[in-house]
Symmetry: C2
Subunit: 589 residues, 2 copies
């Protein structure tokens, strides 16, 4: 049934809604695709639901094409399995929790690793049943701290999540590649620019992890790319190229110096420059100093553990990078009361002298990978107003390991080829991830192998943000007048606009609508008698159906106008040829 503007459940708005900052949010609300119910929770109006279903159809087709089987888990899930994997605690405030009338705990599923794993355990028992790929397209829930940008980051949203199950790592590699290829086809069809970046690998088993990021200046995710070799990674996954060890035989013995009132890197560098000018005339820089930052890790079981990070003074700790390294622990600031509990820490003058599990503070101490053996540093002397100079890594101090927690900057060396990296922003639209045996082990998913022995199943995890994709497509497909949908995702194939007061335009518009529908074309027909041509065109531009047919003034001369929304191109077509012309436009001729 054609949609008719005279009765369509739609009101377009001329002004942007007050809470909408990004174009997709503004336009999807203004053009009547979505309406906000609550923070991060939206209603899909008829036009929006059509686009959502078309995105789902693209995803479903490509999943089915690689032999993945669709099923549907509940959204309301019992606590038990999430307790078994530790995620009931790990999720913290990020999930919605509730209690039923019997007092049993439930959550609203944010992802379904546990359910997929248990379903396979329930049904399958032999290597002969593998490989298996199963998926669902489902409404998911996360209690985001900052829901934003309409459906880009919602609290109730639609995701496609699939999982692969294999008997071994080689099988996982194959399943992973199948999904990765399917994702390339999906995102090619959805019609926005994207980049595939390396992402953090899992803590257990498996190693590959890649994200599909839609490139967007207002995206929440920062990634780096190398214009030389094509390397791309999200900031969490960037591995700093480790410099070669330095010959420190010419470096003097470490010496403690008076550095009064230098609790910051800036004050320290200024003091060094005035009090200890270098013999060779090189200026002191922040990069010559070793900054030691202490944070508090909160583990899922609630225990708190201080952690110190030593990194070059010209770099800040990147919270996201650190967070990804210490997962599932959470990072919190090290507060005054924490300093009070650790009296060996001289705030502003902390040095390797007290750090490290074996040293005075007992605090675990991880070093930036740039702090290689033989490098000399100016760093805190663990005493207020004092720093130590010519402290050499490996000779004078060591850490308990390394950590990738320092910020990544444009111009940093590409880990793959050494060329200067660029940074850019994007929106995470998909993730392919070798889970390995994490969930299979936690939930005891084992099958008999060809020798009759029980073997833990190896899993892959693959997600697409389906409702987010609607926003993302809108973000990449609009102009100053409104939305411009790719043909495959548009709420209708053609928008027939009858303009003027003459009955004939409505009669011909109606006939055209009927003939197009009979030919399998989805039509949005603007049959409103009262609205002016200006209002109708503004609405049509805002709504963004790719092809417009205007039945108006030309009708007297026996023609209608066919417009292309994207290019703005217009041409007159004889009324009798209109159906054929539209079929050609929409690719159905």
């Amino acid at each position: 049934m054609a949609m008719r503007m005279s009765s369509l459940f739609l009101r377009t708005l001329r002004e942007n809604p007050a809470d909408a900052e990004v174009p997709s949010h503004q336009l999807l609300v203004r053009a009547g695709y979505i309406r906000r119910v609550s923070p991060g929770i939206y209603t899909w109006l008829p036009l929006g639901l059509k686009v959502l279903r078309k995105v789902e159809a693209v995803v479903r087709e490509e999943m089915d094409a690689i032999g993945a089987q669709e099923l549907l888990f509940p959204a309301l899930l019992p606590r038990g399995p999430y307790e078994a994997t530790g995620r009931w605690a790990e999720y913290g405030e990020n999930i919605f929790r509730l209690t039923d009338r019997r007092g049993d705990d439930y959550l609203l599923g944010p992802t379904h690793e546990e359910m997929f794993t248990l379903a396979v355990k329930d049904l399958f028992s032999s290597y002969k049943d593998l490989p298996l790929a199963i998926y669902q397209i489902q409404t998911k829930y996360r209690d985001e701290a900052r829901p934003r940008a309409g459906i880009l980051r919602g609290r109730e949203f639609v995701m496609k999540d699939s999982y692969s199950f294999d008997i071994d790592e080689a099988g996982l590699d194959r399943s992973y590649q199948l999904h990765r290829d399917a994702y390339v086809r999906i995102f090619d069809r959805l019609g926005f620019e994207y980049v595939i970046v390396q992402a953090m690998a899992g803590a257990m088993g498996g190693s590959k992890s890649e994200e599909f990021l839609a490139t967007a200046d207002n995206g929440e995710d920062t990634y780096v790319r190398c214009p030389e070799c094509g390397y791309a990674a999200n900031v969490e996954a960037v591995r700093v190229p480790v410099p070669d060890a330095v010959d420190a035989s010419g470096t003097p013995a470490a010496h403690v110096e008076d550095t009064p009132d230098t609790p910051t890197i800036e004050t320290l560098v200024a003091h060094l420059e005035s009090a200890f000018p270098r013999a060779d005339g090189r200026a002191w820089s922040a990069a010559d100093t070793l900054k030691n930052v202490v944070v508090m890790l909160v583990h899922p079981d609630g225990t708190r553990e201080p952690l110190a990070i030593g990194l070059p003074g010209d770099r800040e700790v990147d919270e996201k990078r650190l967070g990804a390294q210490v997962e599932p622990a959470r990072v919190e600031p090290f507060e005054e009361k924490d300093f009070a509990a650790h009296p060996t820490l001289a705030k502003g003058y902390i040095g390797p002298g007290v750090l490290g599990a074996e040293k005075a503070s007992g605090i675990r101490y991880l070093l930036d990978p740039r702090v290689v053996e033989g490098t000399a540093w100016v760093t805190g002397a663990d005493e207020h107003g004092h720093h130590v100079v010519d402290l050499v890594a490996g000779r004078d101090f060591t850490g308990d390991g390394t950590v990738e927690a320092a910020e990544v900057r444009p111009g940093d060396a590409c880990p793959s080829c050494g060329h200067a990296l660029e940074t850019a922003r994007g929106i995470e639209m998909g993730h392919v991830f070798q889970l390995g045996t994490k969930y299979a082990e936690a939930l005891d998913l084992r099958v008999l192998d060809e020798n009759g022995k029980l073997r833990t199943v190896v899993m892959g995890s693959y997600g697409v943000g389906v409702s987010r994709a609607v926003a993302c497509v809108a973000e990449s497909n609009h102009d100053e007048l409104g939305l411009v949908w790719p043909r495959e995702l548009a709420p209708a194939d053609v928008h027939v606009v009858a303009t003027g007061k003459d009955d004939a335009v409505f009669t011909v518009g109606e006939e055209l609508t009927r003939e197009l529908e009979a030919a399998g074309v989805e039509v949005l027909f603007d049959d409103r008698r009262q609205a002016s041509p200006g209002v109708k065109f503004k609405d049509a531009e805002l709504i963004g159906v790719p092809t417009l047919v205007v039945v108006g003034r030309g009708l007297a001369q026996g023609s209608v106008e066919v417009r292309d929304r994207r290019s703005g191109e217009r041409r007159e077509v004889a009324t009798g040829d209109a159906v054929a012309a539209v079929l050609a436009e929409v690719g159905r001729s």
Copy 2:
């Protein structure tokens, strides 16, 4: 893509699951359509999801055909609108409630009256925008006290709910009829027996309310039907035919009698028979007595109000009927402590003497409609061991009104024609309901009428239990071997079974599968090499695809067998004619 038994995410079970009592639950689990996650919460496995989607498609087609527009509201809903209509309190323990990280209250939507009403208020403002019908097919939640029978009464389930919006009652009548007609088409297509019964009308505005009940001996809903005139109603909606007033001029004055140890109707009748035999020889019966039952109403705001019901002693109070009358209040038992708080009530001997808002107890007193003016009763004298005889309604006592709370029994008179009613059981599958202005008033949904005056919109509410329909279809379409799906809802059009060890059967089965798929037929192909023919046939019978093609022994003679699952009919078809034969069977030739 054809489903292949060798890789399908399916395991059939030979035994019924322990918790499954009704056939649909047993068979849907055994045949691998659904799996239980938690009480009343199920996973849809691949075969089940296909059936669910086909039921959805039937419902969607018929909704679209009457011009209803599909949209999709969230399931996670803010408390505010439900507070405005009073339903936040009314739902009591029957909904899932939760609090987000900011401390705001939410519920999981059990129905969406509030959301639909607010959406229309948000977008529309004039009588010119009406009539409007909008609907969604969505996952809903109810914290049922007793989830049962698999997906027949779940806590997470799929419903189609639609609402109509009209400027006046005449419009509502038209919208109601459109929906009712669409429901007839939907339930005719779904392939189970059903009956349309009168149901309780709303408290405000509107008057028509009908339920579509699937007839089922194990159904939860009891309804009555008249074999004479076709009247049908659920028990809540039955209206007792009110007898004519009786001339009581010959009835003696009421007299109190000693009736020691007669706290029950049985003991009272026995005592009357022995101590006060009637002059005309008629035996005393329970129907001559007036039983006064006191219950406690709990209103949504938590206040508790005692209510007394006077009804003939041969009838019990029907909890469902009483509950429907006093909604949104809830009925609880009148406990010992409540008796203690009302000392005028002589338990077992309560009579009209103290009942009634103006009398000693101050308790509201409602009478069964059979207690008409002039009828004489034996009832409690409000004193232990005493009853009053010849107490005449209207002459000696009155109530504060009437109430339809007495049980309905087979043989009761049809309210429409007087013939004896029958009772039967069914499962509520659909409900069409004239809501009137209840929600529009609570949420202030008004539009300008043709005179420029604001007018409250008149609404209708229409629901179909979509996931429940899957169970209901299974309940009506199975035999001792397994499921027998109606063609339109089957998970596949045809089940191709290759039997034997010969490679040729698998090659031909594969070719046949490919050709059928190319012709648009959905195929389930049993390509398992290990399984015996017996196992394959048992699985096929359990799964219940309507047409089977067996590629087996006959192949040597150049034929395959085409079986009809429902009739059991089998015929040999030349291999070359197999595709055409199947196309004819599935109605695609």
